[in-house]
Point group: none
Chain length 142, copies 4
Amino acid sequence: MITLEIATRIANGVLAEGARRGFAPLCAVVLDAGGHILCLVRDERASIHRPQIAMAKASGCIGLGVGGRTLAGMAKERPTFIGALSDIFPNGCVAAPGGVLIRDAGGKLLGAVGVTGDQSDNDEACAKAAIERAGLIADTGD
Amino acid sequence: MITLEIATRIANGVLAEGARRGFAPLCAVVLDAGGHILCLVRDERASIHRPQIAMAKASGCIGLGVGGRTLAGMAKERPTFIGALSDIFPNGCVAAPGGVLIRDAGGKLLGAVGVTGDQSDNDEACAKAAIERAGLIADTGD
Amino acid sequence: MITLEIATRIANGVLAEGARRGFAPLCAVVLDAGGHILCLVRDERASIHRPQIAMAKASGCIGLGVGGRTLAGMAKERPTFIGALSDIFPNGCVAAPGGVLIRDAGGKLLGAVGVTGDQSDNDEACAKAAIERAGLIADTGD
Amino acid sequence: MITLEIATRIANGVLAEGARRGFAPLCAVVLDAGGHILCLVRDERASIHRPQIAMAKASGCIGLGVGGRTLAGMAKERPTFIGALSDIFPNGCVAAPGGVLIRDAGGKLLGAVGVTGDQSDNDEACAKAAIERAGLIADTGD
């Protein structure tokens, strides 16, 4: 189970990583295994609906049980399917890198991170770095 | 008319079939002819939004009166049409195998099954097996 | 964590208890700790939107972390507050007995049950009996 | 304008104040003047839909331009009006103490805080303490 303390460390770690790399201002959310928010942070310079995008990246991953890169591949092959998930998942489904599952060393699903603000690959790199710095496994769907 | 007893037998039969074949953890729903849930079961290892997907597979089928394989074909030829159904059907519309109509020997529509968790073809195989084991006709839209 | 096996035993137990007591046809849902369906059963003679009511009873309880009887008390004292929860909780909030939290012997929250079909007190009695028969603690909010 | 740094200090300050006073586990959100999330934190022991409640407290305040205590008074006198706001505000409207406007020394509106988890008066006390500790003015609607 992810505590708020760990979630905060991950969310802040995402934004710190983005700043270090000179990325655009980011928004990051950390969800628990049930898909509920533990911590959400948005750089005040990031656009106003970034929280919705971060939520839909993380929620899409945890809702289907796969990383954002897998979702992005499915969106290319089966756009109607992913479009339908976007309609029926309670927080939508943004199928793109930057949605990353959090697992423990044994592979157990603990939660998910959603990052948005820069290019998807960059969003994902920040999520991955922050999850690993917290001693957990980042499942990007790679 | 499908009773809860039959619906339960079908839903449980879907998951048992999946376990027998070594498929990923499944979620299955059985709807009556009015499109309303009689029985929904989700393996505790299946991801959290599987109930929404199972519902949208079964609801899409019963909403348009065709099996999921027919819906999947329509989604390829007319993606905008199926995308619109996804918006206007109250439980969405996932156009994929695994949505299966239940008919009696005379062809009368009794309800629908929605299965998700593994690949769509595998989901459908479990639905078909469980419906037939209950002595009813599985209309996959094949 | 509640498995599907336990959830099924509880959901079926609710309807069996209702039949034993001669109650009206019931609908019962069992949610996991994240508020997601494990098992939902509706007697084919129960009205069509009972699943929504069962969900809103169980979801309201788990969303706020209290039993349905507590919610019902709040609804009397603070109707606007409970009305607002009904708008913002993803599955609504029906504040009535029949929404019951499932806890383990140590008090840890494992999930929730929602029952509807007869009078709320009767719905609750069936939920309580089925949870206890499964060796778990029923927190009705009493 | 409230930066993420200040928002984080306030949100964390709310939870720290709650812990100091021995309150139930809390959830706190800080919105900017446009009503968009800067920071949301939920104690992992707080119930799962607390983020929705925190949002609806803060959004209600900023949406109408008054503190939560004023909203609570209006809810008593004009329940239908507040019920309607709950329907039409995009994040709902929970009219209760714990929704607090953030102002600067000149009275300019900078954002809002929403806190939930304990009794409303306690939620509000934590919001007030954290806003003031950040050198800003807490407008509770008192």
